[in-house]
Amino acid sequence: MNDLEPIAVALKFGFLAVLYLFLLWVMRMALRDLRATASPGLDTGYHELPPPRADSEDAFLEVLAGGGLTEGERFDLFGGVSIGRSPDADIRLDDKYASGIHVRLFSRGGLHYVEDMNSTNGTLLNSEPLHGEAELAHGDVVRIGDTELRFDPGGS
């Protein structure tokens, strides 16, 4: 056709080559980015526990459902924690039925207790309404609104 045709053909393949190299580069960077932010989330200020070890001593709460928390997420109970919707709560719930500080968990004499902090919508401990405080046993489920948390005393 004309003397510029080779350039047109080169441009066509060059265009596709640059296009794909660019996309490949973005994909690689995005993938690396994905791995980088997959590191531990620190949303609550509480550190997620590593997978349970045999010699682990600390009791923890495991998230079963809801509340804007990830299912299976674990919270260390060392030193006691407060749970609620307020930003001041140690474990912050995104749950409409949760009060600012809904319950607190604490230990006394080596035993763990859960106490309802006069919440508006109440707390269920193993499907029973919780009044005041109650001792926690292995596998007890604390329910706040749509959020379910299971108690595990840890250890072996």
């Binding site: 047109a8 066509k12 265009f15 932010t37 531990p40 749509d146």
Partner: protein
């Protein structure tokens, strides 16, 4: 490398592609290799750099890939439209600049997108008003049977494009508040969790609205786009797949019903199922689009090489050819994807689809790392509506679904589309900036504590 430097680096290949694209088109059109293509490339790069500086100043932590990917789509659009008609390309370039200005304005003046949550009912009303505008006598205009645009003198505008932002903002804030209510008291039947009947209310209302859109605005594409975006948001808000299954079933049943009863919807379906049956009349566009795509092959005919107009017939319209001898009608709007396939082949087309895929991936990533409900839902909604729009038109042109006249985001010619999509991009980047800043600060605090 910081996010912004990464963005800056990514803009260089984009500018290179614009230059190469224009160079190829100019060679074919005027058989010369001047410095015009370099000039266009430099203009484009300069515009992107200014925008980049705005992002650098205001949203230092925002996602680094979204803007370059969008710029790449815009580059595709600019080259393709220039190749179709350089007058249109000049308009499109103006719209592109205006889009970038609005993009910057959104970022600078909105500052905190969370205020949108407070005005949700106002925003919803505006959105519905915009959707109904094209049916108003006097300013409403009909294109290809569908009521999608309004006309002020010579200026035409598609309010659906802006309406989609309003509706997503409303749905995000509404579902953010009501999501707990929607999941309470569900029952499990045959492994699927069904919501109680009374909570299907919102689903029914939105379904009804999308059916009304189907009949009154006569556009399956927009109707599908809005409804599917709603289902996506509902799914993200409640984690109940049953809502999606029920909703999709309802939509298919509704669309099927109207396809069999309402004439114009029926015709759309007929030419979708068999465009070659009416290849000389109603099915002409789709049939020609299929031919153009098949003609593209693996690597295409080359930029600027697609045959769009029969030279002998144009401009004087000959009765023998419908659409004034245009081989591919509406190549700059609805069928721009077919032109891309014809000129860059399967590889080029796959790249375009991949760009949309990557934008969607970055958008959903933003939704995942955002920590409050409204940001999550808004990012999901905006990303979904963008991706669905690309799906609806690419699907229509490739005959996956019935063809409807929505634009290919950032590529197609059209002011309202470019502007609306840049506002969506601005909102996405604002959400991304907030979410990523939080992650970065946490990581820094973590490192400071343990390093």
């Amino acid at each position: 490398m910081s996010a912004r430097n990464r963005e800056l680096l990514a803009l260089i290949p984009v500018a290179l592609l614009v230059t190469a694209g224009f160079a190829a088109v100019l060679i074919v059109e005027s058989n010369q290799l001047g410095n015009l293509s370099v000039l266009y490339g430099v203009y484009f790069l300069a515009l992107c750099l200014i925008t980049h500086l705005v992002i650098r100043r205001r949203l230092p932590d925002a996602d680094p890939f979204l803007f370059p990917l969008v710029a790449l789509l815009a580059a595709f659009g600019m080259v393709m439209i220039y190749r179709i008609d350089d007058g249109l390309a000049r308009d499109q370039a103006n719209w592109f600049v205006l889009g970038l200005v609005l993009f910057a304005a959104t970022i600078v003046f909105l500052r905190d997108y969370e205020v949108l949550e407070r005005y949700r009912y106002v925003i919803a009303t505006v959105g519905i008003g915009l959707l109904l505008l094209p049916r108003l006598p006097g300013i409403g205009a009909q294109t290809n049977d569908a009521y999608l645009s309004i006309q002020f003198g010579s200026l035409s505008f598609q309010p659906t494009e802006l309406a989609k932002i309003c509706i997503i903002v409303f749905l995000a804030s509404y579902l953010r508040e009501k999501r707990e209510v929607l999941v309470v008291g569900a029952r499990r039947i045959a492994g699927i969790t069904f919501p109680p009947l009374k909570h299907l209310g919102p689903l029914l209302v939105v379904w009804g609205a999308s059916m009304v859109m189907l009949v009154f605005i006569r556009d399956l594409g927009s109707s599908l786009m809005f409804f599917a975006a709603f289902l996506a948001l509902l799914y993200v808000a409640t984690a109940r797949i049953s809502f999606v299954i029920i909703g999709m079933t309802m939509f298919v049943v509704g669309a099927w019903f109207f396809a069999n009863t309402v004439g114009h919807v029926q015709e759309r379906f007929d030419i979708w199922l068999d465009p070659f049956d009416k290849a000389d009349s109603a099915g002409y566009q789709i049939a020609q689009s299929m031919f153009a795509q098949a003609d593209g092959g693996l690597t295409g005919r080359g930029l600027g090489e697609a045959l769009l107009q029969l030279p002998a017939v144009s401009p004087a319209c000959a009765a023998d050819f419908p659409n004034c001898g245009a081989i591919l009608p509406a190549p700059h709007t609805d069928f721009i994807y077919a032109v891309i396939v014809n000129e860059l082949g399967l590889f080029g087309a796959a790249a375009v689809v991949m760009i949309y895929g990557m934008i969607a991936a970055r958008g959903f990533k933003t939704a995942i790392i955002a920590d409050d409900g409204f940001s999550k839902l808004l990012a999901t909604g905006l990303t979904t509506v963008l991706a669905l729009q690309a799906f609806v038109i690419i699907g229509g042109v490739t005959r996956v679904i019935p063809l409807t006249g929505v634009t290919l985001p950032f590529i197609s010619y059209g002011g309202s589309s470019i502007i609306a999509n840049f506002v969506i991009l601005a909102l996405l980047l604002m959400i991304s900036d907030k979410a990523r800043r939080r992650v970065r600060e946490q990581n820094e605090a973590y490192e400071a504590e343990y390093a």
